[in-house]
């Protein structure tokens, strides 16, 4: 009698366990059917100001800035490859750089192109990649916050100042980010080097470019090609050649495969361009 009761109890427990396991499995399947898996949400997250985040992160600023950094990278990755990006399909299927610029101009979405340029349209086109303008709205505020939480995290300055700037043509935010990095790393030649690039390429400010390149040269470990660039600038080297020289300098200055790949692509396009010699 006792053993029968024992067996009945065990059976009930096993049946209950199996029922619960089956319920878990089935509900999970049902939920999966209605919810497509998105590895990272493309939507922007609300984040308090950098100073507040600095407070909240307490002794873990490095870890918090890493978290912000990973979110930024994932966000950029999705934006660049996401079909939701308004310029993505156009750029992939039929876009040429000239067409892109024309279309963007027609839609009056880009203001930077109206500013004074010393360079021709083709070169501007090569060095502006407008397919990712949506990035500007969220990426720069994110980078600003993360560099406030950990101002010594060097790579985000370069990432925003060079990589995102080339993707979006957002000069002002890129320049501000690089200047902020330069304040924290006054003896790192990369910052004045990239600031000089922005001033020359996007602002046509030769004097400022010269000033930044001179500052870069005075920093320890500054490579020789910065000197060559300065020389090229003073000898009024042609725009295409100067751009090629600068691009190869940027290519050499970073180990990051993404930036190298992007700059390499621009260098090849520059070589193919009609004005190249």
């Amino acid at each position: 009698m006792h053993s029968l009761k024992h067996i009945a109890e065990k059976t009930v427990i096993i049946v209950l366990l199996l029922t619960l396991a089956a319920t878990v499995y089935l509900t999970q399947q049902a939920m999966d059917r209605y919810q497509s898996i998105r590895f990272v949400n493309r939507e922007a997250v609300f984040l308090p100001k950098g100073e507040v985040l600095k407070w909240l992160s307490m002794g873990y600023r490095g870890a918090v800035s890493d978290w912000l950094w990973i979110r930024t990278v994932l966000y950029v990755g999705r934006r660049l490859m996401d079909e939701d990006n308004p310029y993505f399909e156009y750029a992939v299927t039929e876009g040429t750089i000239h067409d892109e610029i024309r279309q963007v101009r027609d839609e009056e979405q880009i203001t930077q192109l109206d500013s004074v340029y010393l360079l021709d349209d083709h070169l501007k086109g090569l060095l502006h990649r407008f397919e990712s303008r949506g990035l500007v709205v969220h990426v720069y505020p994110m980078l600003e916050r993360l560099t406030t939480v950990d101002p010594y995290f060097k790579f985000p300055y370069i990432f925003g100042g060079v990589f995102i700037m080339m993707e979006t043509g957002e000069i002002t935010a890129a320049r501000e980010l690089l200047e902020k990095g330069y304040r924290y790393y006054p003896d790192h030649w990369e910052f004045p080097f990239y600031l000089g690039w922005i001033q020359w390429m996007y602002r046509g400010e030769m004097d400022l470019t010269q000033k930044y390149l001179l500052e870069a040269l005075q920093c320890p470990g500054c490579p020789d090609y910065v000197g060559d660039l300065l020389l090229g600038l003073t000898r009024n080297l042609g725009s295409e050649s100067f751009a090629a020289l600068y691009l190869s300098g940027i290519h050499e200055s970073t180990d990051n495969p993404e930036i190298r790949r992007q700059v390499h692509r621009l260098m090849i396009e520059l070589q193919k361009s009609p004005g190249a010699h």
Partner: protein, 253 residues
């Protein structure tokens, strides 16, 4: 000798504590997991691994310090084993110091194990181990010991739950106290700034024991930054430990 015996006994007790083992396993797991997380960081793997490793060391060390530290003396009182100890020719200060040193030894082993896990991951990534992390790790350890001292201090006159909350509050305020100083400097004429100043000097400034960013980013630091941090931490924890001893001397059991 008597302190050594109490410390050895506390060490044996705490090293077997399931809470401690679980927290330690979780911390080592997280450090190993940083290999995967670092992979999403666009070439910043090494930084992410080191940041995460040092933060895990600090956070989990803090949890062990609070949860075990607060029970250290209370358990003896609840189990009434304190009477056996008190009936022996042992001074109360020896009990408190012995208990503290016992837990400090357990925590030292934890920190060593977490450091080993972090260096193993670092070796996989960089092909070398970054001994430059040592100053930050030493200060993390001192910070954890300071929290243990506070846990013992609070457990001498309030209940364990309130004591745990108070200890955690010290940790939070300790990391925010730099902002108090900044506030006082920015608004020096505020009537209540003497109060903020007093709070700033009473609460430990745990940011003085924080060299995580400096070692990960290889920022050049004058040697006195580490030395002052170490001295500050050790002096503060000795002070709190002495106050705890005084409170335990007065306590009836």
């Amino acid at each position: 000798m008597r302190i050594q015996a109490i410390a050895a006994n506390t060490f044996r007790e705490t090293i077997r504590d399931r809470v401690m083992i679980n927290i330690l396993l979780f911390a080592v797991g997280l450090i190993l997991l940083s290999l995967i997380i670092g992979d999403w960081s666009l070439g910043q793997q090494v930084k992410v691994i080191k940041d995460l490793g040092l933060s895990a060391m600090s956070v989990f060390g803090l949890l062990i310090a609070v949860f075990i530290g607060i029970r250290l003396m209370v358990q003896e009182l609840e189990r009434r084993t304190i009477y056996i100890l008190a009936s022996k020719p042992v001074h109360r200060w020896e009990i408190v110091v012995g208990k503290f040193l016992g837990l400090a030894s357990t925590l030292a082993i934890n920190v060593v194990l977490m450091t080993a896990a972090l260096w193993a991951v670092d070796y996989v990534m960089e092909g070398r181990i970054d001994i430059g992390l040592i100053p930050a790790i030493v200060l993390i350890y001192v910070e954890i010991l300071l929290i243990v001292a506070f846990a013992i201090f609070f457990s001498s006159f309030i209940s364990p739950t309130i004591g745990a909350i108070m200890t955690l509050s010290v940790f939070i305020v300790g990391h925010l106290s730099d902002f108090l100083r900044e506030y006082v400097e920015i608004y020096p004429d505020q009537g209540f700034h003497w109060f903020l100043k007093a709070v700033y000097y009473i609460v430990p400034n745990l940011e003085k024991l924080n060299m995580k960013i400096a070692v990960v980013e290889h920022l050049e630091q004058p040697p006195h930054v580490f030395a002052y941090g170490l001295l500050y931490g050790l002096a503060y924890l000795s002070l709190i430990l002495m106050l705890s001893i005084l409170l335990y001397q007065k306590r009836d059991f």
